[in-house]
Amino acid sequence: MKKVLSIVLALAMLFALTACGKAGSDNSAPPENSDAVANTDAAGNNEVPGGEAELKSFSIGYFDDGSTDGTTQPVIAQLKTAIEALGGTGVPVAPANSSPDAQVEALEILLTKDVDGVVLPYALFGEASLPVVVTKCQSAGVYFGFYWAEEEYAAEVEDMLNGCEYYVGRLFQDDKVAAYDGMKALSDSGCKNVGFIGIPAVEVKENSRDNGVTVACSELGMKVLVEQRDIGFTLSAEGGAATVEQFLTAYPDMDGIIICGMAQFVLPGVMQSLTTLNRNDIKVACIDFCNDMDVYAKDGRLVYECGGHNNGGAYLTILMANIFNGTPIHDGPVLLGERYIQLYSVEDFEAYKTIQGKDSYNAEEIRQCLKALNSDFSYEQFEKMVGSYSLEDIQQRHG
């Protein structure tokens, strides 16, 4: 009887595991050479002007570790929308962890799946891994590009990238400004002595954000009293709570907290700890959007949030889809700044709440970026689309 029960329970767990699996298995079928894509909108019932077109079928590989946080999940959702809208097939792979080695291994897996292109989060690779990526993609004949990248690299890395015929380009954010603006928001709220929570300093993004914090300290007369970068603390709400308890025990004169990354994990704990310790006078500024952040803005403690950098993968997919259809919109690799959305006031947070969880660009808008469907589309329009991304831009387009 016990054995039968064990088997039943094991099967139940197996089903649960199967349910957790990604739809990626559906994507493993090799792409066909060409495919007639019905030009319908997201609801699937309106035809796009231009009628039905013969589009090249393609597959795009990307990294999806299954994270559901307010920063990672929208990136993957927007990327999937873009791939499907342009007639492609998404091929996800989950890196074993966040180390550069694990990213390279995940890339190797994607390359074995005969994808036509890969969109990669540079922030997880780091500059040292770029030559490996270039070599692997070059020898596999696979187009590649980076989102969450940096504006500048060492000259030899830059030469290597630009010398590779399969390099599509990269999208970067101005992390230095994002961090500076967070510190400025704290300064405007009267903060002088802040605690810092962020990702390990070895990561490139953190260096840029650190620079922003350092500049703000010298320009605005602020001081970072203490730092927390230990991922043992920065990957959970409870870790955030413990961090704040330690900060305020050791530095009771602290009056602000800047969270330069990992806010999606620690923010609820940080806020709860401030409440428990009766220190609601302390202001908080964050980079990376979180679920439920409007709750903290409404009680006046969260004075700045910066995020919404969800579109890099989708932009790269647009560039690649045009190449695959024989209508590239740009000669050579592109270098574009992807804009952050910055929220300061309660009104900003409430406005963002109305669009949170939805794609920044719907399938209809993305299809209009394919020259095969919209012959008027140009690189200048693409550049304008990327450059005009903001909260207002989304509100205007989506009502």
Binding site: K2, L5, S6, I7, L9, A10, A12, M13, A16, L17, A19, C20, D65, G66, S67, T68, D69, Q73, A94, A96, N97, P200, A201, V226, E227, Q228, R229, D230, I231, G232, F233, L235, S236, A237, E238, G239, G240, A241, A242, E245, Q246, F247, T249, A250, Q264, F265, L267, P268, G269, M271, Q272, S273, T275, T276, N291, D292, V295, G357
Partner: protein, 337 residues
């Protein structure tokens, strides 16, 4: 004799955290020697780790390190936020514990079905439980109202700690289950010949671990007022911290009850952690220092045990020698001895 033993236990309980606390009191007296707020923070930061460690202990006792317990705790936190949204505070408490029972039972049977005593099973289960958490948290709010975080506030936080500690102590030191678990840990063949069912104890140990994870989840959720699904093996660091406390408790086991030893270990590690923050130590090296601290402790404990064993050996040899000498003096041959 009893008073001497109790005195030793008190010294052991106070000495380790006391040394750490004293060290940082010298460096930052304004933080560590003004009022009880620092001590209070250290105590409440030790609660989650202690409860998880107590839960892990029974599986460890029978020779299986269950790393999935931290992932399980995060899964229960996510379930708790869902239950809170649908059924309110009391619903959250009752349904979370019930979920811990059901999932714990399921997990225990899966472990039995696989039938391999390896920490790899725990790692595999950690992956599965993390995936379940991610699936459940998709598109949901994973925070609870401040009004529902009462369990993290005194005196409720200490009530949870003390009740969990008493249950862990009873199971460990007073129950038949505890003695059977220790018997299996001491020698599987002998325990089997004594009629102890390894499967039964293993399922019970796993289930008890899950229930402790459920309680830890309710407390931890209240402390952070929210939860993020962990992916992959991100939850392992929490399990490792609990494991360190179990090692510390083991090294103090000669003098101190295991349940108290775990809490003493957690307090010492949190005192170290807060001390490092207070002196502005690089937070990325915090884990390294904590591990080094544990290593030193284990080495000291090992050397101390070795010294005691050597002393015992010498005493036995000496006694044998004296006995032989006395026998010779009585005219017997050493052969007869």
């Amino acid at each position: 004799m009893k008073a001497k033993k109790a005195g030793k236990a008190i010294v052991a309980a106070v000495l380790l955290p006391g040394i750490v606390y004293g060290f940082f009191s010298v460096l930052r007296p304004e933080v560590f020697l003004t009022g009880f707020s620092t001590l209070y923070v250290i105590m409440i930061q030790s609660i989650t780790t202690s409860i998880i460690a107590w839960g892990m202990n029974f599986s460890m006792c029978i020779g299986m390190i269950d790393f999935s317990i931290a992932a399980e705790m995060i899964l229960y936190e996510i379930l708790a936020t869902i239950f809170y949204g649908s059924f309110g505070f009391m619903g959250m408490l009752i349904l979370t514990v019930m979920s811990a029972f059901v999932i714990g039972l399921l997990k225990a049977f899966v472990k039995e079905l696989i039938g391999v005593r390896s920490m790899v099973i725990g790692i595999g289960l950690a992956y599965i439980l993390a995936s379940l958490g991610e699936m459940l948290s998709q598109g949901r709010s994973t925070i609870i109202d401040s009004s529902a975080t009462i369990l993290a506030v005194a005196p409720y936080n200490f009530i949870i700690l003390i009740c969990s500690g008493i249950i862990a102590w009873y199971l460990d030191a007073r129950s038949i289950f505890g003695s059977h678990a220790r018997a299996i840990g001491g020698g599987l063949a002998i325990s089997k010949s004594a009629g102890i069912s390894e499967q039964k104890i293993s399922v019970q140990a796993s289930l008890i671990g899950s229930l402790f994870a459920g309680v830890a989840a309710l407390f931890t959720l209240s402390r952070g007022s929210g939860v993020s699904a962990s992916h992959g093996l991100e939850s392992l660091s929490s399990a490792f911290t609990a494991l360190m406390c179990i090692f510390i408790a083991s090294s103090l086991a000669k003098y101190l009850n295991f349940v108290i030893g775990v809490f003493v270990g957690a307090v010492a590690m949190n005192a170290l952690s807060i001390g490092l923050v207070s002196i502005g130590f690089d937070s990325e090296l915090n884990g390294t220092v904590t591990s080094a601290f544990l290593l030193v402790l284990i080495i000291v404990s090992f050397l101390s045990d070795k010294k005691a064993a050597d002393k015992l050996r010498r005493e036995v040899a000496n006694a044998k020698f004296l006995k032989a000498k006395s026998a010779l003096a009585d005219g017997q041959t050493t052969q007869n001895l």
